[in-house]
Symmetry: D2
Subunit: 364 residues, 4 copies
C-alpha cells in the first residue's frame, strides 16, 4: 500500500496518518519529494482495511502496490500449471488443448449414452453433463442428482471418458468427488466461499467458472480460496459476463483468455455454449477461443437439441460438432497448439492413448 | 408462451412446430390472421424449454406471456406482505419504515455493545452485524463466526434489539436461525439455491439481498425459492448493482424500489452503505430510498470507523447517523410514511413499544 | 502523476524510466524509501501519455494524482455555481430546486400550448420540448426542427416560460441559442466534442446530459470542454445509465447526484422520464432525486400520452404531475430546500415573480 | 407489432385497444384463441410509438415482429456486401480479410512515413491515422487536423496505401472525403445522427465503429442512417464495449462478429487495439477476430510506442506486428479465408496488385 498525500497536505495531516497507522501496529515510511509526500506501508497491514485513510484530511489516494493474488499469480509461480490425469492426459501448459463435450443436463440413460458414444468416437476424452443444475426458477428442471452421477459413471467407464460435473453445495463435495474427474463450480457459485474452501480439501481438479459479474481479480481470488486449501489443480473457465448487450445471453470475454494467461499460471478454457446461448455462435467462438490461446473449450452437444429439457437452443448437433472439431485442429495447428484428439478403438480405450497424429481431423 | 411465426412462414413450417409441441405432450392452438399466424401454448409446458423452437424454420420469436414469478408476484397476492415480530413490530405494507443499523462485522464485544447502545438510544430496533463474512480474498478477516452470534444475542437482549445477520451455507441455517431475528442472504449468495431451499424451511424472516449482477426477475425468482419452501416472510434488499461506473463501489438502483413494489407484495429495503461504499453518500441515498417508497434502510454505523477491520470507509459516525435519522423522519412525513422510532427507556424495553410520536426527531 | 516502481525493480529500471521522462522534457523526482521507490512528475507532462511507462520493466503502476478536471472541479471553485436568468430566476446553490416539464417532442401547436398552459399554471417556469430529436432509427419521427423552435418561442412568450431544448449539431448552435433559454446537449452527444466546443462560445446556459455509458469523470470532462470555451453556465443532467438491467429503459443513477455535488460546483438535475422510461416510476424517482439533493428535475408531461408520437409510455398525465408537485414541495421542505413554484397570474407573468409562499402546494 | 392481451382481459379492454389503434389510422386484426387474444398490426404504424398501449388495461405485452433494420438486414439483402476500391482491392464477402494498420494519431511527417513504409512493406494496403482526435479531456492532444490529412495523403501516394481516417463533424465530411479512402466514424459518434446523414451523401466507404454502450441493434440502425442516405458502402467495426470489467480498457465483443454476419450483409472488422488498450492483448485478439470470421482487423503500430502522444500503451512494435501477420495468415488458412497481403515492390505499387501467393508469410 502507498498513501499519496495531496500536494497541499499540511505536516499535521501527514503526521495524523502516520499516527493512525502506528496505533494499528502498521509500519510505514515517509517518502518526501519536492512537491509530494508519499507514505509507504512496510510489511503486512494486519488485516486492516487501509483504504479508510482516504477519508482523512490531506489524503489524495491509497494505492495497492502488491496484488492480493498470491498462489494463483504468475509472479509467484512463473511456470504453467499442468494437470495430469490417471492415464497421462494433461491440461495446461503446452499440453494439447482439450475439448469437453456433452449435454447440458443428464436427462436419461439413453440421451447420455448416445452423446457419450458420439463424442468419444470424435476423439474427445472429457464428457460434461450436469446432474445438479442451478436453475434461476424453482419450477425448472433441477437435474437428476446422484442418479445422474451414476449414469455419468457408467458411460464414462464404458467409453473411457473423464467426467466433468457440477457440485452445488459444500456437503455434497466429497461424494461428487467420487464420481467426477473434474469438479465444476458453476458461475453462480464462484463466490460461494464455503464451497470453495471445501474444494480446497478435495483430491480432484476443480473447474472454476467465472461469475457473470466477476472481475478477473475476483475470479483469481476465488481460485485462491481453493489453492490456499491445498488443492493445486484449478482450471479457470470463462463462460460469458453480463453486460448491457442482450442480443446473446452473455458477452463471452475472449480477452480474459490472454489476460489470465498473463496474470496466472492456471489453465484457462472457454464455454461458448453458455457464453452465447445460441447454437450458431458456438463454433466461431470456439475457434476464437483456441486462436486466443485457450487451453481448451467446453461445449454442449445433444443428439436431439429440439427435445432437450434445458438449454437446447445452444447445443450443437452431432454434425456441427464434427465440423467444428476439424476447424479447431487446423486453428490449433496455425498457432502451434495441438488439440487433444484420441481415436476411439472401442472398449477399454481408457489408458490406451493414441498419438494425435492418428486423429480423424486432417491438418492442411 | 406464444410462438410468433414469420410473415412468410409456410404451412409446412407451422405444422412442424405444432407437431413438435404435440410430440412433447404440449397443447397448442393456432391463431390465424390475415397476415400473421401465432401459436399459443395452452396450459403447462411440461418443463420443456420452448425457446428451442426459435431455431426452427419460419419461427420469428417465442414470447413468454405468463411470468415465471408466482408466489412473489403481486398479481397473485395483491395485498402487501407485512411481517410481524414477537412484540408487534412490523415490516412492510403501511407499517413504519424500519432502520437497521450496526457495524459491518462484529469485531469485539466492546465495539458491538457501544454501537448497539447508541443505535437503540436513537430509536432503532434492528441491529445488523456480520458474524460470517463473505470476503473476496481468503486472506481478509472472515468474521468471528458463532462467537460473533453469541455477542449479538447478548447485546440484543440487553437493549431490546432484533438481530439481522448473515448465513453463508445451508448447513448453518438452523443454528443461525436460533440467533437471528432476520436471516440475511448476502448478495453473492442470492442464487445459492441449496441455501435458499434450506431457508424455505426456517421459521425466521429472510432478507434477500439482490445479487450485484442480478436482474429484478432473477431476484424475485430467488425469493420464489424461499417462498415455495413455505417461508412467506421474505424481505428484499437492494444493495447496489455492478455497472461500468467505478466512482462508487456499486450503482445503487433506487428505481428497483418502486418497480419491485409494483411487481411484488414483498417489503423492499435499501442498503446504501454497501451500495455506495462511501460514507458521505449514505445519508443522501438513505433519504432517496425513503422518498422512493422503500420499507426501510440498512446502514453501517461504527463507533470509530477509522479502526474498523472491514468497510470502515462506508460506516457512518454516530453523529452523522443522528442527523440522518432526523432527515428520514421528515421525508417520511412528506410522503405520509412514518419511520419506526421507538424511544429507549433502558432495560427491558423490548416489548414495551412506545408510540412514534414520542420520537426524538421532530417533524416540521 | 506518480510512477510506482516494483519492490524488486533494479536501479537500471529506475534510471531507464527517469531517462525516458527526461528525454521527453518531463521533470521528475525520485522518492526513495526503505522498500519502495516512487517517481513523482513535477509540473506538466507536455501532453505525453505517461501511462506508456507501465510497459517498462520494473514499473508497477502509474497513478494519476491530479485530476484532469479543472474548471468543473469543486477543488478549484469551492462555491456552487448559480445560474441567473433574465428575471432573477436562479438554478443551483441554495436557489429553489427547479422543475422542467413539457412534452418529449414538440408535435403540434395545440399539444404544445395545452401542455405549456398547464405546466405554467402548476407554477412551473421551465418548459422542455424537443424540436430536433435524436432517434435510434432513421425511420422514427425526427422532430419539427426550426418550426418546432418557433412554436416553443410563441408559447414561452405567452405564458412566461423559459425554454429548454436540444441542439444536435455545431452548425445549429447559434440559431438554437436564439430560441432556447437553456440549450440541451442530449445523452448521445455528451462526447460530441465539436458541439461542446461550439457551446463554449454561446451566451446561453447549457444542460449537459450524461451519456448512458459515461463515467462521472467523463461527464465532468465533457463539461470542461464547455467551461474552457468560456461558457460558465453548465447544468449537469443525470438521465440514466446503461446497465445489464432491462426491466426499465435505463438505470437512473441517483448516487450521481450527491457524488457530483461533492466533486463539482455545477448544478445537477435528474431526468427520471428518460431514466426509467415508465410513467409509474417518474414520481417516486423525482422524489428520490430531490431527497438526494438534486437542484431540479426534468419530466415529460403530455395532455394525451396515448397519442404521443414519441415516448408516450413515460409521459405523466396532468393529474399525475400535479400530485407529484405537491410531494416534491413537501420533500424539499423536509430537507430545507424550496421547490421553485411561481403562481401563474395570466398574461405577462414573466418578470413578475411571486414569492414561493403563494404556491398552490401546501407544506405540512 | 403484435399486442398480446392478458389471459383475463375483458372484451372492453380489447375493444379499447382496437379503437385507439383505429383512431390513429392503424389497421389491426384480432386473432382469437381458446385462451388468448392477440391483436396484430397490419401494415405501417404511422410513426406511432405503439408501445404506449402497454399502459392500457388488459394489455400484457407489445411485441415487435418486424425488425426496424431494413437496408442493413441480411433478410432484405442476403448476399454479402463487397466494397471494391479503385485498384480492385475488396472488403467483405469472400474477399481476403484486410489488415488496417498505422499510428493512433498522425503526430509528425517522420513518424507517419516510417510507419507507412513499414506496414506497406509487410504487405498491408490500408493505413490508419487520426488527424482529428476525439479526446475525453479538452487538455489532451487533439490531432493535427487538416495538416494531418495532408501528411496522410502524401505517404499514401508514396507507398500505395488506402487511408482510413476519422471525421468528427458534419461540416468536415466533404473535405475529409477528399483525403480518405475509408471515412471512420468514431465510437463516440456512432449516434451522431447529423454526421451519419451527411455520410449518407458521401462517395466514400464509411467505417462505423460500434459505440461502447451500443447494442448490436443500435449499431445496425446507425448503419441504416448511412445506407438510407444512399451510401451502400458501410463497414462495421467492433472496438470493445463498456462493461464492469476494468482490467482492460473495454471488453472486445468477439461474439459480435458472427452475430452481425448473421444479421447483416455488411463487412465486419475488429479493432483490438482500442478494444483492449494493452499491447500484449492485441495479437491474441486479432487472431481470435479472424478465427471468429471477421472481414479484417485494424491495429495500431508505432515505430516508438514509448514516445507516442496518444495510446502508446496499446501500439504494437514493428516486430510484434510482423509476427502477428504470420499468425493471421495461418489462421486464415485454417478457416479457408485469405488475409490480404500484397508485397511491396517500391514506388507506384498502387494498382499493380500482386497475387497473395507471393506473400512473405508462409502458410504451413
Amino acid at each position: 500500500m502507498i498513501i499519496i498525500m495531496n500536494k497541499n497536505a499540511r505536516e499535521a495531516d501527514i503526521a495524523r496518518v502516520e499516527k493512525i497507522l502506528s496505533q494499528q501496529g502498521i509500519r510505514s515510511e515517509r517518502l518526501t519529494g519536492e512537491k509530494q509526500v508519499v507514505i509507504g506501508i512496510i510489511g503486512a497491514s494486519n488485516g486492516l482495511d487501509i483504504s479508510v485513510v482516504t477519508t482523512l484530511e490531506g489524503v489524495q489516494d491509497v494505492v495497492r502496490v502488491s496484488s492480493p493474488i498470491k498462489l494463483a499469480s504468475r509472479l509467484q509461480h512463473p511456470e504453467d500449471t499442468v494437470i495430469t490425469f490417471s492415464d497421462g492426459t494433461k491440461i495446461g501448459g503446452s499440453a494439447p488443448a482439450i475439448v469437453i463435450a456433452g449435454p447440458c443436463s443428464v436427462e436419461s440413460a439413453d440421451q447420455l449414452r448416445r452423446t457419450a458414444e458420439f463424442v468419444r468416437s470424435s476423439g474427445v476424452r472429457f464428457l460434461r453433463g450436469g446432474a445438479f443444475k442451478p436453475r434461476t426458477s424453482p419450477y425448472s428442471f433441477q437435474g437428476l442428482g446422484f442418479d445422474g452421477l451414476e449414469l455419468l459413471k457408467k458411460v464414462s467407464e464404458e467409453f473411457g471418458l473423464f467426467i466433468v460435473t457440477e457440485v452445488m453445495e459444500p456437503a455434497h463435495a466429497p461424494r461428487v468427488a467420487e464420481f467426477a474427474d473434474i469438479i465444476q463450480v458453476g458461475a453462480r457459485n464462484m463466490q460461494n466461499f464455503p464451497l470453495l474452501r471445501q474444494l480446497g480439501n478435495v483430491n480432484k481438479p476443480v473447474m472454476l467458472k467465472r461469475g457473470p459479474a466477476s472481475t478477473i481479480e475476483e475470479w483469481l481470488l476465488a481460485a485462491e480460496y481453493i489453492l490456499s486449501g491445498g488443492n493445486e489443480n484449478v482450471i479457470l473457465c470463462e463462460r460469458g459476463i453480463r453486460t448491457f448487450e442482450t442480443a446473446l445471453r452473455y458477452t463471452t470475454d475472449i480477452s480474459a483468455v490472454p489476460l489470465v494467461k498473463e496474470l496466472s499460471h492456471l489453465p484457462v478454457i472457454v464455454d461458448p455454449s453458455h457464453g452465447t446461448g445460441k447454437r450458431s455462435m458456438v463454433t466461431p467462438m470456439s475457434r476464437a477461443s483456441i486462436a486466443a490461446g485457450a487451453d481448451g473449450i467446453m461445449v454442449e452437444v445433444h443428439p436431439d437439441p429440439l427435445r432437450s429439457l434445458s438449454d437446447g437452443v445452444q447445443a450443437l448437433t452431432f454434425e456441427m460438432f464434427e465440423e467444428m472439431m476439424g476447424e479447431l485442429v487446423r486453428i490449433g495447428d496455425a498457432i502451434d497448439r495441438q488439440i487433444l484428439i484420441e481415436p476411439y478403438t472401442g472398449a477399454k480405450s481408457r489408458g490406451s492413448k493414441k498419438s494425435p497424429s492418428e486423429s480423424p481431423y486432417k491438418v492442411a
